[in-house]
């Protein structure tokens, strides 16, 4: 027998995930424009690995395969991970990271809805710790590299590790803007001078900042479509801005301006697409603000004082651990149990 309610809003997990995937498209398009089509190879590779691992794990766990393969959640993990990995990374890096994300970080925790950690970020963390060298194969943006590889050259390198004759890896890849900044600051150069280098654009890295604009656009769509709430992106970017701003105001020679932090690395992607993963983020609005603010603080500290190229992934994972506690201590008052309580009127 079916019980009330007998009607429901036409929506589904698959549709929500699909719309998040669509929201990534503008950023990916700009990525291709500035860095070549190699990223599409990683995304495809990650997607296939994710679906394959998902199907295998579902079968091993004796769960229905078809409905879960169609929920698009594995694809979303795959895309987010692929976007965090250098496009010229060898094919097996993408496969290992994605398989780990789906099998270990997702299914060993109980599958969809039960993972404590963001699977894509777990995949990233595994790769950056295990294969730090391969994780530096970032392509130089269009117009900046000594040599630009064609699509087939990129494919050849990803799958066979072979570069065209007389081309070195250093000629086609370069350090990320965040890395470059860190290295040069260590060399004692002031921020202003470093930012004059050609890899920097108006706000962040040349090319990279445009990709960030794309993700920002997609993120605003997610907000408008009410797939995510404003709390996490606003608290994350706001805290990052404030913290970076304070450091910058105190010492402009050593601490870069806050907008640089927004438009470099995975800050925008993280604010709208990674930290907002509903499964691994808090369910209360107040909790979301605390979670995102904590993540922003950690991102900044890892970027400035840590040894890793970006801080978003570890900040996410560290804050993921805190989620149950945050949720427990940010429970909102229920109707009829407000402090304003007994028959008190408040504003409409």
């Amino acid at each position: 027998m079916i019980y009330s309610p007998f009607i429901s809003k036409p929506d589904s997990v698959a549709r929500i995930m699909l719309r998040v995937l669509l929201a990534l498209v503008p950023g990916i398009a700009l990525y291709v424009w500035y860095f070549g089509p190699a990223i599409l190879v990683s995304i495809t590779l990650a997607s296939l690995t994710a679906l394959g691992t998902e199907a295998l794990m579902l079968r091993l766990r004796d769960r229905p395969v078809a409905p879960f393969l169609r929920d698009n959640s594995a694809l979303l993990t795959a895309w987010l991970l692929a976007l965090s990995i250098p496009p010229l990374a060898p094919w097996w890096l993408v496969v290992v990271g994605t398989a780990f994300a789906i099998a270990i970080a997702k299914h060993l925790y109980g599958g969809l809805g039960n993972n404590l950690f963001n699977p894509a970020m777990v995949g990233y963390a595994v790769l950056i710790i295990s294969f730090p060298a391969q994780m530096t194969h970032w392509i130089a943006p269009h117009g900046l590299g000594q040599i630009e590889l064609g699509f087939f050259d990129q494919l050849e390198y990803i799958f066979l590790g072979v570069l065209p004759h007389q081309t070195t890896l250093d000629a086609v890849t370069m350090a990320t803007p965040l890395d470059t900044l860190k290295t040069h600051l260590h060399l004692g150069q002031p921020v202003r001078q470093i930012l004059d280098m050609p890899i920097y654009g108006r706000f962040g890295g040349h090319g990279g900042e445009m990709v960030a604009w794309g993700f920002l656009f997609g993120g605003l769509y997610l907000l408008a479509a009410r797939i995510i709430s404003w709390h996490i992106p606003v608290a994350y970017l706001g805290t990052l801005f404030v913290v970076a701003g304070i450091f910058h105001l105190v010492d402009q020679a050593h601490y870069v301006a806050p907008l640089f932090h927004w438009y470099s690395g995975a800050a925008i992607l993280g604010a709208f697409f990674i930290l907002t993963d509903p499964v691994s983020s808090p369910t209360t609005n107040k909790g979301r603000l605390i979670f995102a603010a904590g993540a922003a603080l950690l991102t900044y500290l890892i970027r400035v004082y840590g040894g890793f190229p970006d801080g978003v992934a570890f900040a996410t994972l560290l804050m993921n651990i805190c989620v149950p506690l945050i949720v427990l201590y940010t429970q909102p008052k229920v109707f009829g149990k407000k402090d304003s309580g007994f028959g008190k009127k408040d504003q409409p």
Partner: protein, 524 residues
């Protein structure tokens, strides 16, 4: 314009009310047999006062209220009582209940009825009359109205009539307000008089402009109301489900938040459905007990329509009037959000029946298989009780009922908004109903166990005390003989302290037995 307030959340399901408001209320024909359940209200069932074979007149008492929360049941028409036995009724349990089966004689002959001038009676007298007239809340819960009017020392400032009718499909209140606004307003005035309230606010969702206009006109035309310096007002409230929930409606109209576990009367408000006001009016001004009500027949039918239906009319006859379409496969009593599936279509219409929806797989497609909760919190966004439905679901799944109670499970009004928006298609409300019934069952078991333990402990204590007293007596006697020998008497101090100790112990046991535990009692 009155300042309105908001309640949290809510949804906008398709209203589907147009179908059944095209025509006015029609009178359903007299059926061949009426099955009148003796329990149509919350509380204790009425006690049958007629026997099989008796001839009864229309409006004659057939069920006497039995217990504090109970209400009378009457013969809806004249005829012969064919049987008083167990019949299937519209109850979620699907269990049969005691019913009087009445075969109408077709004469529709009234018992002697006495109109009452309510102004010359005390509220207590009127409450008794309403109880004997079988007036219960017609909004769906069928709570005896006389109890809600028994406010004791509590001062009621505002009487709210609930004409929100926020559930999709249902239009019985809408049509009643359109057609019988004057009688509703007069019923409201009687209720106001009984409660000694200062104002009457009739809350109607703004998707019913005809009803609002009719009520406004009725108020401005009502001389009794005019004399009271316009204490009546129609308040158009935004159409948002569940705006017709009593606590939500009170919030919207007055801004007051009825505290959890309390009643509206605790904040000086009492709330009645508009149809209840209408039946109060009929019961006192005409002396007619509650024999019929308006029911919406809609859904998968050819002619959706509101009918005035005698209580006890088999629902299949009503459905036949509206011509249910061939692919109809089940029926829902109430609306699509909170209604219940009927165990069978031949069950009788009762006082709580506001709507019958013929349902088909096309009209209400079965939900796709449930996916895991992804904690998207769409349910949190729509919950009018401001709960965390995803957590309550989690606790229900893991049977952590204690945690569910801490997370205010019993503040859930089961409106179904969470299930409606859930992208994982989880039947959330079912989980909450399950948790609540489990907790109630456990509380009941615990109470019984507590009582047994209490009795046992008391008995043990008594036996021990008696033993001790005997020993003390013996000792005292021995002492007395000894002291008598010594010719010096000492008062025995031991006995009174013993007694006191035992009294204190009994008090302790009694207190621990009745100590309120974590469970909260759900207020109907």
């Amino acid at each position: 314009m009155r300042k309105l307030y908001r309640f949290h959340g809510g949804i906008h399901p398709p209203s589907n009310k147009m179908q059944s408001t095209r025509n006015g209320i029609a009178r359903a024909p007299l059926p061949a047999k009426l099955i009148v359940p003796l329990q149509q209200h919350a509380g204790e069932a009425a006690k049958p006062v007629v026997q099989a074979g008796d001839h009864v007149l229309k409006g004659q008492l057939i069920g006497m209220p039995d217990g504090f929360v109970s209400s009378a049941v009457h013969a809806p028409t004249s005829g012969t009582i064919a049987a008083i036995d167990l019949q299937l009724i519209a109850h979620p349990s699907g269990l049969p209940n005691l019913c009087a089966t009445l075969i109408p004689d077709g004469k529709d002959e009234w018992v002697e009825i006495k109109p009452v001038d309510y102004r010359s009676h005390s509220s207590d007298d009127l409450q008794q009359l309403l109880r004997m007239a079988g007036v219960v809340g017609l909004g769906g819960a069928a709570f005896p109205s006389d109890i809600k009017l028994r406010t004791g020392k509590q001062k009621i400032t505002t009487l709210i009539l609930n004409g929100a009718e926020c559930e999709p499909y249902i239009t019985c209140d809408d049509m009643l307000m359109r057609e019988r606004a004057a009688e509703i307003v007069q019923g409201a005035e009687i209720l106001r008089f009984m409660l000694d309230a200062t104002e009457v606010l009739i809350g109607v969702e703004d998707n019913k402009p005809e009803a609002i206009a009719a009520l406004q006109q009725a108020i401005s035309a009502d001389s009794a109301v005019l004399e009271q310096n316009r204490r009546h007002e129609v308040v158009a409230i935004p159409t948002i489900y569940p705006g017709g929930g009593a606590k939500q409606l009170i919030r919207v109209i007055t801004g007051l938040e009825v505290p959890s576990g309390k009643l509206p009367t605790d904040v000086g408000v009492q709330c009645f459905n508009v149809a209840t006001a209408w039946s109060v009016y009929r019961a006192l001004v005409y002396g007619e007990p509650l024999l019929s009500r308006v029911i919406t027949i809609t859904g998968n039918v050819r002619h959706a329509q509101n009918y005035e239906v005698l209580i006890g009319t088999p629902i299949d006859e009503l459905v036949a009037l509206s011509e249910a379409l061939p692919d109809t496969d089940h029926y829902i009593m109430g609306g699509p959000m909170m209604g219940m599936p009927l165990p069978a279509v031949h069950v009788p219409a009762v006082k709580a029946t506001n709507c019958i929806i013929a349902a088909s797989a096309k009209l209400f497609p079965p939900p796709p298989p449930a996916m895991p909760c992804i904690r998207c919190t769409r349910c949190v966004e729509v919950c009018p009780a401001e709960l965390q439905p995803q957590d309550l679901y989690w606790f229900a799944q893991s049977k952590e009922f204690g945690r569910a109670q801490v997370f205010s499970l019993f503040d859930c009004i089961e409106c179904g908004a969470c299930s409606y928006v859930c992208p994982s298609h989880i039947p959330l409300v079912q989980y909450y109903r399950f948790s609540k019934s489990e907790i109630r069952a456990r509380e009941h078991d615990k109470q019984l166990a507590d009582q047994a333990r209490e009795r046992h402990e008391f008995r043990e204590h008594r036996i021990e005390r008696e033993k001790r007293e005997k020993a003390d007596k013996l000792a005292a006697r021995e002492k007395a003989t000894q002291t008598a020998k010594l010719a010096s008497s000492q008062p025995s101090a031991t006995q009174p302290t013993e007694l006191e100790a035992s009294r204190a112990h009994i008090r302790e046991v009694a207190q621990s037995g009745t100590e309120p535990n974590a469970t909260e009692i759900d207020i109907p």
